[in-house]
């Protein structure tokens, strides 16, 4: 039965292959669709992201963070779907806005670290020599810095910071691993014939890097960025949990979870911290699943699709 199924699949592949070759994106997509868990994860993440995006447009953050003396610590009810916290704030609203903020920072940090890491990595790998040497020493240097400590010191030292500034300080330390990864792939890539040919034909370095090498790294980039996204959600939530995350009045998943540090809330008011905890867990698991599936897709031997 299994054999039959497999052979069928191969046959199908062969048939398709006659017509056209798959582009990198199609391979990624097919892998996602074939991996049931990853597909469900993708749907889940999309629903959450779109849902949070849409609902948070309707909600007003200023209203959500309003302290309401008449509804402190209410359990979930028809009026407050997820109850209220110790300041009478609607936990559902806090969850949505918090998820939006956390996702936003994670995405922003991933995007920024991605851009910086890819640019420096590819330049470093492509040119090699002194440039490579210099950039990689900078990377080495950044890697030995105690990242978390510096972020915490920054947050303590600067009394008023915005979400953007917070993202930037996180970005400062998290581009290095991407740069390193991209560099090592570029090192391999630049030895390939197409690069050599391109160089021989007199194509400018700029064009070779961005038009020819970069697209060939696209699947690697997507995989790395996806996995980084999950890591960044975790980092932001962790920092907020410790009280060194977002500015005080900005809800985030981490701040919701951190209210569980109060034993009263941990024991008696599960509705304040549980939903956010579950959401973080599911989001990170799902994004990881997607990332793993994409990673497999980049390696022909591991592919399922």
């Amino acid at each position: 039965m299994v054999k039959l199924f497999k052979s069928k699949k191969v046959e199908k592949n062969l048939v398709v292959n006659k017509d056209e070759t798959y582009s990198g994106f199609q391979i990624l997509w097919r892998e996602l669709v074939k991996d049931r868990v990853a597909l469900i994860s993708l749907i889940f993440v999309s629903v959450i992201v779109i849902g949070v995006g849409v609902i948070s447009l309707i909600l007003n953050q200023d209203e959500i963070v309003r302290v309401d003396l008449f509804s402190l610590n209410q359990p979930p009810s028809s009026e407050y779907r997820l109850g209220t916290d110790q300041g009478g704030r609607d936990v559902f609203g806090l969850l949505i806005i918090g998820a939006r903020n956390s996702l936003l920072v994670a995405a922003l940090v991933t995007l920024l670290t991605g851009i910086i890491g890819i640019l420096l990595g590819i330049v470093s790998g492509y040119f090699g020599g002194q440039v490579d040497h210099l950039l990689m020493r900078i990377v080495d240097y950044s890697n030995i810095l105690p990242t978390l400590m510096i972020i915490i010191a920054f947050v303590t030292a600067v009394p008023n910071y915005t979400i953007i500034q917070f993202s930037l300080i996180m970005t400062l330390f998290r581009w290095t691993s991407i740069a390193r990864l991209i560099r090592s792939r570029t090192l391999q890539e630049r030895e390939l014939e197409y690069v050599q040919a391109s160089k021989t034909l007199g194509t400018s370095n700029f064009k070779t890097i961005f038009v020819q090498v970069l697209p060939n790294l696209s699947s690697l980039i997507i995989v790395t960025m996806t996995l980084n996204l999950a890591a960044n959600i975790g980092l932001e939530s962790g920092l907020s949990f410790l009280g060194f995350g977002f500015p005080d009045d900005t809800p985030s998943l981490g701040t919701l979870v951190s209210s569980a540090r109060n034993p009263q809330i941990l024991e008696l008011r599960w509705w304040i911290w549980m939903p956010a905890s579950i959401l973080i867990l599911l989001l990170m698991l799902s994004i990881n699943n997607i990332g793993q599936a994409l990673k497999r897709a980049t390696d022909a031997r591991q592919r399922r699709g």
Partner: protein, 614 residues
């Protein structure tokens, strides 16, 4: 979608793929970017909040009158035992371990076990004759002669002498003194002013008669001398005598190896975290019942866990919002008293001039307009905050004299009612009009007005209360910038007149002396609002004048003073507090509050192990 993109693509294959990388990125992040806009026009909730939610019951309120203040004995005392004391604080204690230098309450909690003052007081806060020293008053009421008891010795064996007592006055009065104890009470000592200015080498009014006898002559006799107007904490001359005054507070003798003459000796200190004490067999009242005490800083977040599992027997304070849910714990008894304290909101109106040693008002201060201050007061509903957040165990304050001072407390002072509409009206009339484009009020000069509100960070409830205040002020159109600052740096910044502070929420634990001069007088650094006025000074002086020995007269003066302060509103009182504190059932002879006649050396235990809840 991708395919279509490819069809429409440019000339070269490679170019198309380059474009798609970014398309992929845009898809991945685009929706999040759009989701970040949060300006939504939705406005639904009603402003009046008059409908009471169904879920919140109106009972569940407590009254401080229902609490006992002495522990009910449960069993026979055993020999010795170690008491576990929890110092509840979300930060470490500073560790300035000397009564002459300490500032914050956490340090005082550490101090109480190993040091004490010479004089004790009764429940009316009048000095009694059963302390480590006794006193006699001359006929004109200006000269006090103190006699220190024979067996009062420092922990290192040296006797506590009159020299030590006089030395404390000399150090606190010294121009280089960096603590906060100097104030009007000291200036009332004959010759102190000259000494403080460096014009005299000695304090003329303080005479050491012999090793054990000290005479202090005061300039004016006032009723407050006997209720906290005497500095009763000696400073060991044989230890500090050679030291520069400015270096004392940072010295090892205060930070690491402090001595006192209290019932317990300090054995080890882990700075900021814990202190272990052992019994002082040489204690002047007699041998303490306990073998020792272990003091440990515990966070307000874990205090109930510690109590439940028997980690601590006693705590320095208990977060009142956690009381209702833990009322019934089987291993604890809850004691309660009206706390000698009140919370208040203060407005920075000037600065402390350390050269002149006095408070100076700044007419250009952001909060200088009394109407603005009054309006901010009217905008907050303290009654409701007390009921909702504190279950009635904090209640709206009526004035600047706490109800614990029964003889002077007046619940019927006139104060602005809670009325946000009136507050808005008041601001409009005072020229603080709303700028249509920002939606916030501006100063009468048309300058933008952003008010920085400093609040202590701490437990969740405190933060919610801070947000409530900020929000209530935003509701009347003021732009508020809320800063939550941790306890130690909060008082540092407030005390140093940090230029960013406009409004701050703080609390005073008041001394046994009802006289508020030390908190609101013109020459005391504790007057954090820096409010000074002739009328204020006049009333404060009348309150401690000779005429004020007449209780009715003094009561009237303090009424007048409170009323004046409520009108000027350099600070406004928010809440009086009940002090509800849990005690493990194995503890004997323990009481909270003043004049219980129970001291730390009386405290005993009924068994070796702290009881845990069933």
């Amino acid at each position: 979608m991708l395919d279509k993109e490819e069809d429409r693509g440019g000339v070269k294959m490679k170019k198309k793929r380059y474009g798609r990388v970014f398309l992929g990125l845009m898809i991945a992040f685009g929706f999040m970017l759009t989701a970040c806009r949060n300006e939504t026009p939705e406005e639904s909730t009603s402003e009046d909040g008059s409908e009471v939610e169904a879920g919140m019951e109106t009972d569940g309120m407590y009254s401080i009158d229902d609490f006992n203040n002495i522990k009910t004995p449960m069993g026979e005392a055993i020999e010795g035992g170690v008491l576990n004391f929890g110092l509840v604080s979300d930060t470490s204690f500073e560790g300035t371990l000397n009564y002459n230098f300490y500032q914050g309450n956490p340090d005082a909690q550490v101090l109480q076990f190993f040091d004490e003052g010479f004089l004790s007081w009764d429940e009316n806060f009048v000095y009694g004759q059963d302390g480590a020293a006794t006193y006699e008053i001359s006929e004109d009421g200006r000269t006090f002669t103190f006699t220190i008891r024979d067996h009062v010795n420092w922990h290192d064996g040296e006797p506590v002498t009159a020299r030590d007592w006089a030395f404390a006055y000399e150090v606190i009065g010294d121009p280089d003194y960096d603590g906060v104890r100097f104030g009007a009470d000291f200036l009332n000592v004959v010759g102190m002013e000259e000494y403080h200015k460096g014009e005299a080498d000695e304090i003329a009014g303080i005479q050491i008669l012999n090793d054990k006898q000290l005479e202090i002559e005061f300039i004016r006799t006032t009723p407050s001398i006997l209720t906290g107007g005497i500095w009763t904490y000696p400073l060991a001359y044989h230890i500090f005598g050679e030291m520069e005054v400015a270096e004392m507070s940072a010295s090892n003798e205060i930070r690491q190896n402090p001595v006192g003459f209290g019932p317990f000796k300090v054995e080890t200190i882990v700075p900021g975290e814990s202190v272990t004490y052992v019994r002082n067999d040489d204690y002047w009242r007699g041998r303490p019942n306990l073998d020792g005490v272990t003091l440990r800083v515990i966070s307000p977040a874990t205090v109930i866990q510690e109590l439940r599992t028997g980690g601590v027997d006693l705590v320095s304070s208990f977060p009142i919002d956690q009381f209702p849910e833990n009322e019934a714990l089987s291993n604890l008894e809850w004691l309660g008293i009206v706390d000698r304290a009140y919370s208040y909101i203060g407005f920075k109106l000037g600065y402390w001039d350390s050269e002149l040693g006095q408070n100076v008002m700044d007419p250009d201060a952001k909060m200088a307009d009394v109407n603005l201050r009054q309006a901010m007061w009217q905008a907050v509903d303290n009654q409701l905050v007390g009921e909702r957040f504190y279950h009635g165990l904090r209640w709206e304050a009526s004035g600047l004299i706490a109800p614990s001072h029964k003889a002077f407390y007046n619940p019927d002072l006139e104060r602005p009612p809670y009325d946000p509409e009136l507050a808005k009206q008041l601001l409009d009339e005072a020229g603080y009009t709303v700028n249509e484009s920002t939606g916030y009020r501006e100063t009468p000069d048309g300058e933008p007005l952003v008010i920085n509100f400093y609040h202590m960070s701490g437990d969740d409830v405190q933060e919610a209360v801070a947000r409530y205040y900020a929000q209530a002020w935003e509701d009347i159109g003021l732009q508020i910038n809320l800063e939550l600052v941790e306890f130690n740096s909060f008082y540092d910044q407030v005390g140093e007149d940090h230029p960013d502070i406009d409004v701050y929420a703080a609390a005073w634990t008041v001394g046994i002396n009802v006289d508020p001069t030390n908190l609101y007088g013109p020459i005391t650094p504790f007057n954090y609002s820096r409010f000074v006025s002739d009328e204020n000074t006049r009333l404060l002086e009348l309150g401690v004048s000779e005429a004020a020995f007449d209780l009715d007269y003094r009561y009237d003066i303090y009424n007048e003073w409170q009323q004046y302060m409520l009108e000027q509103a350099p600070v406004f009182p928010t809440h009086y507090r009940a002090n509800v504190t849990p005690v493990n059932n194995r503890v004997l002879n323990y009481g909270v509050g003043d004049g219980t006649g129970l001291y730390w050396y009386d405290v005993a235990l009924t068994q070796e192990e702290t009881l845990a809840a069933e």
